[in-house]
């Protein structure tokens, strides 16, 4: 462990590599987490199938790539398909659990996650897949730092998508309806908003955002039918750390998680990379709880 830290202090240039890799992948985490924050905040659904939405989006881009469509063009298709899929899931499942107790949505979406992962496995097989963009890789500092063009493009696209979603929420009719429903569904209903449709749209929008994140992940990382749970946990870590309705927080936490994973893997060894993520989840929860306890005492 100390050896690894001494590498970083002796040759700081490698910090750049770790931070860049962390930021690139963290941007996609943030995107998926933003979708989760949306459904969590608006309709109070804890979507454990979040990761599997991401992976499904990745498989769509990958499959289109195999048919000769460049995965970057596959991404908009993936967004559209996932939007439709999200709507369908809302109508069949989510609509029925939305007013039940909180644990129900967690478990129903977990069941959905199992079905989706297995369906992907039956359709595409369990191999690790990657969508190839065939873009160049640039080297800096005597090949100490390498940046694949596709990672830069993906990073930029994440930013563009985030801006589009924010503008949509601010300015469009539907965006306003979603925000109104999030604040007070009953009042929204009284004002003539069809909350059922708002919920359906919100859930579908989340699936579409996941589809985009997944398509990007298939281009810069790897996908496999059973990797969904890891992405779901990352989204939960980010949202619990940042709180929903806090977009800058989600972005910051997403990027931070990406960087932290890289450092965890580098300093502690790759075997701790996964443990870093789940460990952070527990740490974040405990930290929030201590905050809350302090808050409660103040109230007392």
């Amino acid at each position: 462990m100390w050896d690894n830290i001494s590498i970083l202090t002796a040759a700081p240039v490698f910090n750049i590599q770790l931070i860049l890799d962390g930021l690139f992948i963290g941007a996609t985490f943030a995107l998926a987490a933003y979708g989760l924050a949306l459904v969590w905040g608006v309709m109070n659904v804890k979507n454990l199938a979040q990761g599997d939405f991401v992976i499904t989006g990745g498989y769509i881009a990958w499959w289109l790539g195999k048919q000769g469509i460049h995965p970057l063009w596959g991404m908009p298709i993936s967004i559209v398909v996932m939007f439709g899929f999200g709507w369908l899931v809302y109508i069949t499942i989510i609509r029925r659990v939305i007013d039940k107790d909180l644990f129900t949505s967690l478990l129903a979406t977990f069941g959905l996650a199992i079905v989706m992962a297995q369906a992907l496995n039956l359709m595409f097989g369990p191999e690790v897949q990657t969508a190839e963009s065939d873009y160049a890789v640039r080297s800096y500092f005597n090949n100490s730092v390498t940046v694949a063009d596709i990672k830069l493009i993906a990073f930029a696209l994440c930013g563009v998508l985030a801006v589009v979603v924010v503008l949509f929420m601010k300015n469009s009719r539907m965006g306003q309806a979603i925000r109104a429903t999030a604040q007070d569904p009953r009042a929204a209903r009284v004002m003539g908003i069809d909350t059922d449709k708002v919920y359906a749209f919100t859930y579908a929008l989340n699936a579409a955002i996941c589809g985009a994140a997944g398509a990007l992940i298939s281009m810069i990382w790897v996908i496999q039918p059973f990797y969904g749970i890891g992405h779901a946990i990352r989204a939960f870590v980010i949202v619990t750390a940042a709180g929903f309705g806090n977009l800058p927080g989600v972005i910051l936490a997403g990027l931070g998680l990406g960087v932290m994973e890289q450092y965890g893997g580098f300093v502690l060894g790759a075997e701790f990379q996964q443990a870093t993520v789940v460990g952070l989840l527990v740490a974040v929860l405990i930290w929030r709880q201590i905050e809350m306890r302090r808050h409660r005492q103040v109230v007392q």
């Binding site: 191999e127 690790v128 890789v137 090949n143 694949a148 790897v222 790759a270």
Partner: protein, 413 residues
């Protein structure tokens, strides 16, 4: 419903349920068919190779049945395999094998895929004193426990990458360096198989006094090893060794390409199964891939002909294979062992058949088969192939080498 009726209803339903669980108890030999049992991975993380192995078993069975089946006591029997899906978890293996033994009455077994599941299987075989010929569990620890009913046609896992180390030493000497100057970086998946491969490497590295500069363990749900590869860039080792089944190979190949890792010697297990050449093209040029078997080797046997013949038959039977994975070849070979053993024992008695397996000695397309008292195959060595312009060429050991080693590796050739 009164008490009595409820009671009868409950006991009746329990009895029915018990019967449903029990199922029909089959005999080990049904009419003119001998049933072999196998719990193997159709789903879960080992399923890529589990399915390769199943294809291998099926091809072996098909060939033997085509050639007239197995002759025992003057009568001809067909072979058939009964499969269950172990979902790539040793947790299921034991339960499914109990089920095959007790409910399905199977007495002859083919192995599961992976060392972890085979580790769970071996005690069951010992418990019921039924033999298993396995082709996919390479961990050395399977063959030092005194198991009597476990036989493996493949080479044990500590041999996988060990030959890379002696190759690296040769290269160092040729370039006027001492073998002890060689720096090794390695990343192995945290599972019984890869940890065993690691043990073999460490042993050999110690022999040459080489220095291990990176020794990472990759998590099972691996989707990123860029942090390990960043370390490789920083420390510039002479050899990079990676082992993590198919998904480890695919992930590594992708990120090595993307991060332009220029280590002169890279060795990765499961290259063929992960189809890395098709996926990552020229960037994989120069990778060293240990293999249990290669279609270019000069082995020959009476069932499939030569190794090259097997390769052809396999590709004809199953679509979509560019290279025949050795996992399939060794699976077919283990079916051949059963045929030989039944005919040698000329009996269906499990102990007689077991003794026949133990004393068997014959040539196959997969290499010579002769079991040590511990159950591993003594006859067959591990070979090391290098990806040269997209083709897999044998470069070590020198007895089997068809091409010289290309060093240093040139990725974009």
């Amino acid at each position: 419903m009164n008490t009595k009726r409820l009671l009868t209803a409950v006991s009746a339903s329990l009895a029915v349920a018990g019967l449903a669980l029990a199922g029909p108890a089959q005999a080990k030999v049904e009419g003119d068919t001998i049933i072999l049992g196998s719990a193997i991975s159709f789903t879960g993380k080992y399923s890529t190779n589990g399915i390769h192995a199943k294809n291998g078993y099926d091809l072996g069975v098909k060939r033997i049945n085509e050639m007239g089946g197995v002759k025992v006591g003057g009568k001809s029997y067909k072979l058939k395999v009964q499969y269950y899906d172990d979902e790539s978890t040793p947790l299921r293996t034991a339960q499914l094998l109990e089920r095959l033994v007790n409910q399905d009455g199977v007495k002859y077994f083919l192995g599961p895929y992976s060392s972890a599941t085979t580790k769970a299987a071996a005690p069951i075989m010992e418990k019921y004193k039924v033999p298993m010929v396995e082709a996919e569990g390479a961990s050395r620890s399977l063959f030092n426990k005194g198991y009597k009913y476990l036989f493996a046609v493949l080479s044990t896992s500590e041999q996988y990458l060990a030959s890379t180390i002696s190759l690296a030493a040769e290269v160092a000497e040729k370039n006027g360096k001492k073998p002890s100057d060689v720096k090794i970086a390695m990343a192995f998946e945290n599972d019984p198989f890869s940890l065993d491969v690691r043990a073999g490497v460490l042993e050999d590295a110690k022999k040459f006094n080489m220095k291990v500069v990176i020794d990472d363990k990759m998590p099972r749900d691996l989707n990123d090893i860029s942090s390990t590869l960043t370390k490789v860039k920083a420390l510039k080792p002479d050899v990079l060794l990676l082992s993590g089944h198919s998904k480890g190979a695919a992930t590594a190949a992708r990120q090595i390409k993307e991060m332009k890792i220029d280590t002169p010697m890279i060795a990765v297990t499961h290259c063929e199964a992960a189809k890395i050449v098709a996926k990552f093209g020229a960037s994989t040029n120069g990778y060293l891939c240990p293999t249990q078997w290669a279609e270019t080797l000069s082995y020959k046997g009476k069932y499939f002909g030569s190794a090259a013949d097997y390769d052809k038959t396999f590709k004809k039977t199953y679509d979509g294979y560019k290279n025949v994975p050795y996992q399939a070849a060794q699976a077919s070979a283990s079916v051949l062992v059963w045929k030989e053993a039944f005919e040698k024992a000329n009996s269906f008695d499990t102990d007689k058949v077991r003794d026949a397996i133990a004393s068997i000695e014959f040539e196959t397309f997969y290499g010579p088969i002769k079991f040590a008292p511990e159950g591993n195959n003594l006859g067959k060595p591990m070979v090391l192939r290098q990806i040269q312009k997209g083709a897999f060429n044998v470069v070590a050991p020198s007895k089997y080498a068809s091409h010289p080693l290309a060093w240093p590796r040139k990725p974009e050739e």
